[in-house]
């Protein structure tokens, strides 16, 4: 008697582990030098030259904001700041695939994506400094920005996004909720629960796990024994893809197709972007050299998503140094202006906090309001 081939495979645990690699190949459109490795995929994005340039500008904006924010944080003019350099393709190219009606659920590192959606930079600065005005999600001309505030509690935004996704489905909207977390975030219960709920309801959600290699000091390999974070989506019964997170075109393509799928009522999709955080976890005293080597960081700088996009667009004849220099100057002038605006915002009042905590403040709170008001606070 010999065991059947099927039963043998089922019981071959080594085979099962190896099969994960086959199941999750990496989506890639641009090579590191900016050359196109998959012309058909590029065409499938439907991106026009103008849109390609626009995407490049979003990525450059993000890098400049990162550079300025890091400097300002060092001068003590910012509050909390989580650097984004290296993640421009993962963040901006994915966010570029969504539209105004879609709901964004960002983590603390996803500031540039919210700005892309219309959140003014001065509010982002106020958020960083811990001013509640920064959390008011409207554009300067008063339009609602369909975004939640940047979430601090890892994973919490995922379950909430599932709720929005269900709401959109019930209202039969052609829109989705899209949520970001990091590789570390995929260990939280909320991550699994969100995918499971969204899938159970076939809700309109796109989940993006930015695998940037580290959760503070903990390397990805130690976070989970799963070879691919995307594999976690399969457990919930949803399509899940791994994409080169430094390849803006591939990230855009994955996000666009995921959006189409989810907005059409087919249920959620999970996208894992393979990228790297080139800088410290935050500007509050993290030293990456305690837990990773300089060589490793340098190697990732060689894979800078901006370089790749710059080469690609330059080869295509729609980008050059002159355009880049001019745009960077424009961005910095804008940031200067926004810093001034943030600096000019009135100090927060404790009496306002008390008024905003409950719609109807209690008697004790009323007393507290009176005391703080009498002190001008």
């Amino acid at each position: 008697m010999t065991i059947t081939e099927t039963n043998k495979k089922i019981l071959d645990f080594n085979y099962q582990l190896a099969a994960q690699d086959e199941a999750f190949p990496t989506l890639q459109v641009l090579a590191n030098d900016g050359s196109v490795v998959d012309e058909a995929a590029l065409e499938r994005t439907g991106l026009t030259d103008d849109q390609l340039v626009e995407l490049m500008k979003h990525m450059l904006f993000s890098r400049e904001l990162d550079i300025r924010s890091t400097k300002l944080a060092k001068q003590g003019r910012f509050g909390f700041f989580a650097p984004t350099a290296g993640q421009e393709a993962s963040q901006m190219a994915s966010a570029f695939a969504f539209n105004d009606e879609d709901w964004l659920f960002p983590g603390y590192r996803d500031i540039p994506e919210i700005i892309m959606k219309g959140w003014p930079v001065w509010k982002a600065i106020l958020w960083s400094r811990g001013h509640v005005q920064g959390n008011v999600m409207t554009t300067d001309d008063g339009k609602d920005v369909h975004s939640w505030f940047p979430q601090i509690i890892i994973g919490a935004q995922y379950v909430e996004a599932a709720g929005v996704a269900l709401g959109l489905k019930k209202r039969q909207k052609d829109a989705v909720a899209y949520a970001y977390t990091g590789d570390g975030g995929t260990s939280q219960g909320d991550f699994y629960e969100a995918m499971n709920f969204a899938a159970a309801y076939q809700a309109n959600a796109v989940f993006i796990a930015q695998n940037n290699g580290f959760a503070i000091s903990t390397p990805r390999d130690f976070q989970t024994a799963a070879k691919h974070l995307a594999a976690k989506g399969w457990a919930a019964g949803i399509p899940s893809v791994v994409v080169d997170g430094n390849d803006a075109i591939a990230v855009y393509l994955a996000a666009k197709e995921a959006r189409q799928w989810a907005a059409s009522g087919n249920g959620p999709v999970l996208i894992e972007t393979l990228t790297d955080r080139l800088e410290p976890h935050s500007t509050a005293g993290d030293d990456p050299l305690r837990y990773r080597t300089k060589d490793d960081i340098d190697a990732w700088w060689q894979k800078d998503p901006l370089l790749r996009m710059r080469h690609f667009l330059t080869q295509r004849g729609i980008w050059n140094e002159e355009l880049e220099t001019a745009y960077i100057a424009e961005v910095n002038a804008h940031i200067d202006d926004q810093i001034k605006r943030a600096d000019g915002v009135e100090k927060q009042k404790i009496s306002d906090f008390l008024k905003n905590t409950l719609e109807v403040p209690s008697q004790v709170m009323q007393e507290q309001i009176a005391i703080f008001e009498s002190e001008g606070k």
């Binding site: 400094r129 975030g185 903990t218 305690r290 927060q348 404790i350």
Partner: protein, 326 residues
């Protein structure tokens, strides 16, 4: 005795606990190579190895469950929750499980777990990093909540917590970590749990506080001393259960009480202290009990901390009101 920061005292205790008992394990997010985000466990992995000091994946609920499970193999887990504002993720492990297990097993199983976590405001951390949630855990039966206010206590109380066969939530004040230094005895010693300490003697009024409130109370008492008001300062050290005896002795001595806490006013430790005093020692009181606490709002974001947090001036004003009451 050597002069040490609060965080160095914590580290010292952890080092001694690991040395003394092979069953002691330290784990949590980033506690390994990085030594924790505040460096409280700095160097411990290098010294004791990855088997005893190790990082966990990013999931507080599982960190709590891990601790509970490890006790069955006679380990003594010292788990770290990176910031106490992330308590909610691990609330079931703490409130629903470890605190109830001794009761559930009819007293036949022990839960020798320490939940270490930094808490408290004044360092302009992002949202959810500074919350004072001790009131929430203090309401859970079956668990101790210990909040040291100085380096010597941080060390002695942490070693007691690790020795204890009951679960202990051990809260370390972020602001004090590096801002406070003090004399710390060398070597292994324990400071008893469930015992308050008089950290300043006085006759006119008792200021009762704990954790980050104690330095504020002491500052106020020093200032009041210059104005001929001699305040006694009682540091609760363990906020659940309360040391009623020490509270009573001081109340009977001074007859006037001001309770000071960093947390919001509603419910909480201060309210419990006031209730116990009212029930047991009301005839010793010469004035209503005063309270200094933060306003009843969500902990504000960084920029408004200075206005929001309690200050020595608030304590001084409240003490004067109580002393002047007739």
């Amino acid at each position: 005795m050597t002069e040490k920061t609060y965080i160095a005292a914590v580290q010292d205790a952890l080092d001694l606990a690991l040395t003394k008992d092979d069953n002691t394990l330290i784990f949590g997010e980033d506690v390994g190579k990085n030594g924790g985000v505040f460096r409280a466990t700095d160097g411990l992995q290098a010294k004791f190895g990855e088997e005893r000091v190790f990082n966990t994946p990013l999931a507080e609920s599982a960190i709590g469950g891990l601790a509970i499970g490890l006790t069955t193999q006679n380990y003594r887990p010292v788990m770290e929750i990176q910031f106490f504002g992330f308590l909610f993720e691990v609330m079931d492990s703490i409130a629903g499980q470890m605190s109830r297990n001794r009761f559930r097993f009819g007293g036949t199983r022990q839960m020798p777990i320490v939940v270490r976590s930094p808490y408290g405001g004044g360092t302009k951390t992002p949202e959810m990093h500074a919350d004072n949630l001790e009131g929430m855990v203090a309401q859970i039966p079956g668990i101790r909540v210990v909040m040291p206010a100085n380096p010597a206590d941080a060390k002695g109380l942490l070693l007691s917590a690790i020795e204890s066969n009951d679960p202990v939530v051990f809260l370390e004040n972020i602001h004090l970590y590096r801002s406070m230094k003090g004399e710390v005895p060398e070597g292994y010693y324990t400071t008893p749990l469930d015992k308050a300490a008089i950290v300043r003697e006085g006759q006119d009024v008792t200021i009762i506080s704990y954790g980050g409130g104690v330095p504020v109370a002491l500052k106020a008492a020093d200032e009041l001393g210059k104005q001929d008001i001699n305040a006694e300062v009682l540091d609760l050290r363990t906020v659940s259960p309360l040391d009623i005896e020490s509270i009573g002795a001081s109340v009977e001595k001074t007859g006037r009480v001001v309770v000071v806490q960093e947390a919001q006013r509603m419910a909480g430790i201060g309210a419990t202290v006031m209730a116990e005093i009212s029930e047991r020692f009301i005839l010793s009181l010469k004035a209503p009990i005063g309270r200094v606490a933060a306003p009843d709002t969500v902990y504000p974001f960084g920029q408004a901390e200075n206005d929001w947090m309690i200050k020595a001036d608030d304590v001084i004003a409240k003490v004067k009101e109580i002393v002047d009451y007739d």
